[in-house]
Amino acid sequence: MHEASYYIQLLLSGITVGSLYALIAIGYTMVYGILRLINFAHGDIFMMAGFFMVYLCTGMSPLVALPLVLIMTVILGVLIERAAYKPLRTAPRMSVMISAIGVSYLLQNLATYVTGGLARAYPEIPGLKNTIQLGSVSVNWITIITPVLTILLVVVLVLLINHTKIGMAMRAVSRDFETAQLMGIKINNVISVTFIIGSFLAAVASVLYFTNYGQVSPMIGAMPGLKAFVAAVFGGIGSIPGAVIGAYIIGVCESFIKANETFSVFSNAFTFALLICVLLFRPNGLFGEKMTEKV
């Protein structure tokens, strides 16, 4: 049996991973709430943010590159929405999803082309990798910063959605797309803002994730993306606190499963098993609103 500090270490790394999933999951859940679209490209936006950082840091210091990465990722997200999803606004939902899969394929191939398919070392941001000793457990600064920053961002986001005009518009659009349009809400602006927020959070997550992980490769976005989506479904799609709690549960479980030698293969499979159980027994997730199907 291991010591208590071993389990604390696992718990902490689970919380870190969970925070990152939470940041990505918010992007999924907001887009799904408004467009009813599983944005398969979201995981790849996260990956692209990693590469932006790698390439910007060849010419400037990481601290200067950081805000630029955030801005570029946001632009990329909005661009994708304008180019690939907006023309299909009236098309069946399946076409939009196929378009999202196409974008994901495109981004992965683009990254493979630019990098030559190799993993690149992620630039180190000064100070983040220093370790500190907390009792018997030694932790990175990043392990502490990640959950704190995540919670902070989530609180800001919830305030934004509940107390500002654009937040109210978002809630209205996610409740009823067409009526909101009739009420004079500019749908396209709302959708753009959704993508801005989603991409921004994905960029933040990418900085934290890759600083921890050390390298970026073209296919790396798919798995965290899918897991974050599962977290969003688990928490009840469309609900931000739900997505965050779902992400923490998945992150912690995954960290413990990965540590077990016999079952470590199942760390990804577990996430999907959880998804299927949720869909079967509580299709609206933990905090989701009940949807009624109209004939």
């Binding site: 939902r93 999803m97 394929y105 082309y113 030559g116 479904v233 999907f272």
Partner: protein, 355 residues
């Protein structure tokens, strides 16, 4: 009369194709053309199987790679000669299966095993709606992949190591004929009462149910049939590559097959077949020159280096997805293109009469 003519034309075309393939087999067995023909045929079968679900029944499934993997593994595990097992299962003392089935039996079982899994999975999952179904089937494919790679199942599946040296075909006509027969069976099914029920479910579930179609039963039949043929496609793919490894059957493979269906036209069998050959030929052969940094006609073209091919290819796919949403065929079949003509002639004739 028309039917007879159509039959004769298609028989002649089939004969020409067979002669062509035999020629390729005899003279350029290891050329790019031969490999595109084989892989294209295999992808055509898998794409048509997926189209049966996505295009004809309206069930958006993303589990195709998972079923292919099950088929490939079933076939490979059952047809490795007993003498070779020690070498293949080198880390697991030759594995636990100590018999070898003939190729044909292995191929049929490669369809039946995924079909049984589809039955198990379908029971709970088919109740889900559109995109939830997609993500649940995708999840099942990933779970299955993890189970096959599990160390404790090593004696059966060889864990994450390669399976190889199983029974294989000599003539490249084999995968093409198998896939043609399977596609023909799917077409027969689509044209039967089952097929009409599938289309009714796709167009309006509630109306279909009101017309007395058993939704659960028909969805299950479509799902199991699709899994059966995906499994056979997987087995053929295993033979084509002469090795199997679970790591290859990722969700990226499912996406590729889905994109083939989209390029060919959702709801068109001939479209899927053409899409498959086009997709394989473009991605593996025709666009290869884009990866080549060598100068053309003395001009060094910038951007052309490894990976550019796939980038151009994915841009083309995005253009199809965005601007040619119907794909090559829409929901029409190839013979429909000829059938149109007599109708127009009839209309003209009737107009003349009126005049």
């Amino acid at each position: 009369m028309k039917n007879k003519k159509f039959l004769i034309v298609s028989l002649i075309l089939a004969a020409v194709c067979i002669v062509g393939v035999l020629y390729v087999n005899a003279n350029m067995r290891y050329s790019m053309l031969a490999s595109v023909l084989q892989k294209g045929a295999i992808y055509a079968l898998v794409a048509v199987a997926l189209n049966l679900l996505n295009g004809f029944t309206g069930l958006f499934s993303l589990g195709q790679a998972g079923f292919m993997m099950l088929g490939a593994y079933t076939y490979a595990i059952l047809t490795i000669p007993v003498a070779e097992r020690i070498a293949v299962y080198q880390y697991f003392d030759g594995g636990i299966i100590q018999f070898c089935l003939p190729m044909a039996v292995g191929l049929v079982l490669a369809g039946i095993v995924p079909m049984l899994f589809a039955w198990l999975i379908g029971k709970p999952v088919l109740k889900l709606k559109s995109d939830y179904l997609a993500i649940a089937t995708l999840g099942f494919a990933e779970i299955m992949r993890a189970i096959i790679q599990w160390k404790n199942l090593g004696p059966l599946t060889n864990s994450s190591n390669l399976l190889k040296r199983f029974a294989n075909y000599e003539n490249i006509l084999f995968p093409m004929v198998v896939s043609a027969v399977c596609i023909a069976i799917i077409v027969l099914m689509i044209n039967s009462t089952y097929g009409r029920a599938f289309k009714a479910i796709r167009d309006d579930e509630i109306a279909a149910e009101a017309m007395g179609i058993n939704l659960a039963k028909h969805k299950m039949i479509a799902f199991m049939t699709s899994a059966f043929f995906a499994g056979i496609g997987g087995a053929l793919l295993a033979m084509f590559q002469s090795s199997v490894q679970a790591a290859a059957f990722t969700s990226a493979m499912t996406y590729e097959i889905l994109l083939i269906v989209v390029i060919g036209g959702i709801g068109s069998v001939t479209g899927s077949v053409m899409g498959a050959f086009l997709f394989v030929a473009c991605s593996e052969w025709w666009l290869r020159f884009l990866d080549d940094p060598l100068p053309y006609l003395g001009v060094q073209i910038p951007f052309m280096r490894g990976g550019f091919r796939m980038l151009v290819f994915s841009v083309v796919i995005m253009v199809v997805v965005l601007f040619f949403r119907k794909g090559i065929m829409g929901d029409k079949e190839l013979p429909d293109l000829w059938k149109k003509r007599p109708k127009k002639a009839l209309k003209k004739a009737s107009k003349k009469e009126v005049a």
